[in-house]
Amino acid sequence: MTQISASAGREHAHVLETSDLRAYYRMKYFGIDREVRAVDGISMHVRKHEIYGIAGESSCGKTTFIKAIAAAIRPPLEIVGGQVNYSFIDDDLYALPPARRTAIRWRHLSYILQGSMNVLNPVRRIHKTFEDFAFRHMHLPRAEFDQEVRRHLERLRLPAEILRSYPHELSGGMRQRVCIALATLCKPEFIIADEPTTALDVVVQKDVLAMIRETQHEFGSSMIFVTHDLTVHANIADRLGIMYAGRLVEEGRTADVFANPLHPYTAHLIASLPTLGDRHTRDGLHGTPPNLADPPKGCRFHPRCPLAMEICRHENPALTTLAKDHRVACFAASSDVLPTPDGKPNRHEELEIER
């Protein structure tokens, strides 16, 4: 309970704060227990007016992390531990009654998702979707609401005709812009953007990114922006977090991370970005990301890490601040990095052995 007042104290600085967030997929079939630790102890925060980027390979737990902070948890995914605090609520997101949680959505917290083709109901005209999503938050008579929607589109330089269309009648870029308009209509404090530009071609991608930047700036929202594409992050994120196997391994200002990656994994990611004129074939990492149902002991990256040491095989490095706003979890990066105090008990591993 004391933590609540602590987080309330930092309310102005941080819009979102997670502490030791754990979200696992748990399945039980015929007595077989299986646990996939997709998000395993993430603590981070997002400051006001900030765009926080999250990068990582696919199946590193990015999407699960987003689900966890968006309270989009459906079995078999479960929150196993930790907290999610937003500045616009006084409590842990998961301690709220469902009705209040629903009330927050879109008003304070909105989303832009990947896959613009499928995120809009194919049999509903766009204006209906606007109505479904936002009408109840705006507290306006219908005519004024419609006015407001038009005005908003205009502000985003979108033609009002699209309101009469069905999603499939729009181009991919246009659909993504509609989603952005939809997500920003209520001027929410916080926007979660999950790979919003991934499916778009490069030119459109650039426009959409610019649009996201502008709107975020104009409405003063904060944002988490998830993509595996580091070049996008370079363009848009204020700060960048790197995820590997369900954990945050490095975090810092985007420029710092790019200029001075502290974690070998980050270094590898950045090094593998193509640069003009470079004709060397790059060394890929050998091996594949670990199976999260049965992750390696110690640092999860050690089986693939070129700098792996003995300690890496047994202990999990804590995310440690090494420079201003720059944290990393790697024993090799600095001797300041210590093992996590609670070297998680291995009870689940034991169960795994049974099968």
Binding site: A70, A72, P75, T102, A103, I104, R105, W106, S110, Y111, L113, G115, N118, V119, L120, N121, P122, V123, R124, K128, D132, F133, R136, Y166, H168, E169
Partner: protein, 335 residues
């Protein structure tokens, strides 16, 4: 609009082709039957009554002339199409000289009445329950319902009908076992007649609904549990769109659309008659007429019924093909 016109024209052509081929196949098959309607008439005369061999031969000759059978098959085929163009199927051979259309006309209202109501009812009940069961997949009552449906829907229809018959007319005799209405009632739109017809339709329609609901239920549940994981549903749920709206406008609406095609086909198939239902419950519909016609080698009647069935089903498919692009915005009229 132009592309839509081409689309419609193509469908019309297809419709005509299907009807033509279908009816031609049935014509051929019926005329290949080894059963001779003349022999049936002769047998009917001679089985019980007096008959001398000479007179039977004479009778056979005159019946052949009367029924006009034994002509050239090709000519019969042409005559058949010429008559069909005027919606005339010629005289029935087993109820000579009553026109086939009159016999069908008498039976078809019963079939349409019974099947329209039970088809539509089971469509709605099955789809709504199935939709809910797919959406609230963890609701205990709906899960139990799902298990019941899964157990019920593969039971052969005949068994369902037969068990209902035994339960409600034998063990607990509260419902009539056969017929379309009470004996000696005047037909017409009187409350008495309507009540009696309704009473007699309870068992047949109940059996149809029980089985129909099961298959719609299973289909819809599968559809919905797929749609629930679709991005637009997840997205709307994230956006806090109220549950009721989510179920109706997002999940159900998308799932219902493909089911409409199914409904149209089922309604078209009504004209096949519900052979077993009508057989088990002695219902005076077109399915029974068909079986009787087959037994009596009355190929004009068989052809009449199957032609109507073919036309009805293909018309249903045709109409739904034409309308579907208008009701489902996803379908583009490109092909």
């Amino acid at each position: 609009m132009r592309s839509y016109a081409i689309y419609v024209a193509k469908r019309v052509l297809q419709f005509a082709l299907v009807v033509f081929v279908g009816i031609s196949i049935t014509f051929l098959i019926t005329h290949l039957t080894p059963i001779d309607p003349v022999e049936h008439a002769v047998a009917q005369v001679s089985t019980f009554g007096f008959s001398s061999p000479e007179s039977i031969e004479l009778l056979r000759q005159s019946l052949k002339e009367l029924y006009g059978v034994g002509d050239n098959l090709w000519e019969e085929y042409l005559i058949f199409w010429r008559r069909l163009a005027m919606l005339d199927f010629g005289p029935s051979l087993s109820a000579f000289p009553t026109p086939v259309s009159e016999l069908i006309g008498r039976a078809i209202p019963w079939t349409i009445g019974l099947l329209t109501v039970s088809t539509i009812l089971s469509w709605f009940i099955g789809n709504i329950l199935g939709g809910l069961a797919g959406y609230y997949s963890r609701n205990r009552i709906l899960r139990i319902l799902g298990m019941i449906m899964m157990g019920l829907h593969p039971v052969p229809y005949y068994i369902v009908a037969f068990v209902l018959l035994i339960v409600f007319t034998f063990l607990l005799p509260i419902l009539p076992s056969s017929g379309g209405y009470e004996m000696n009632l005047a037909t017409g739109w009187t409350p008495q007649f309507a009540g009696s017809a309704l009473l007699h339709s309870i068992l047949p329609s109940l059996s149809l609904i029980l089985v129909g609901v099961g298959s719609w239920f299973m289909g819809m549940r599968a559809l919905v549990s797929n749609i629930v994981t679709d991005d637009y549903v997840t997205y709307a749920a994230l956006a806090g769109v109220p549950d009721k709206k989510l179920v109706t406008s997002y999940v159900m609406r998308n799932a219902f659309l493909p089911q409409i095609t199914g409904l149209a086909m089922s309604i078209g198939a009504i004209f096949n008659g519900a052979v077993i239902t009508e057989q088990v419950f002695g219902y005076p519909g077109i399915g029974r007429l068909l079986v009787e016609a087959v037994h009596a080698a009355d190929y004009s009647l068989v052809l009449g019924i199957t032609s109507i069935a073919i036309i009805a089903v293909s018309a249903a498919v045709f109409i739904i093909d034409i309308i579907y692009p208008l009701i489902d915005p996803r379908v583009q009229v490109t092909q």
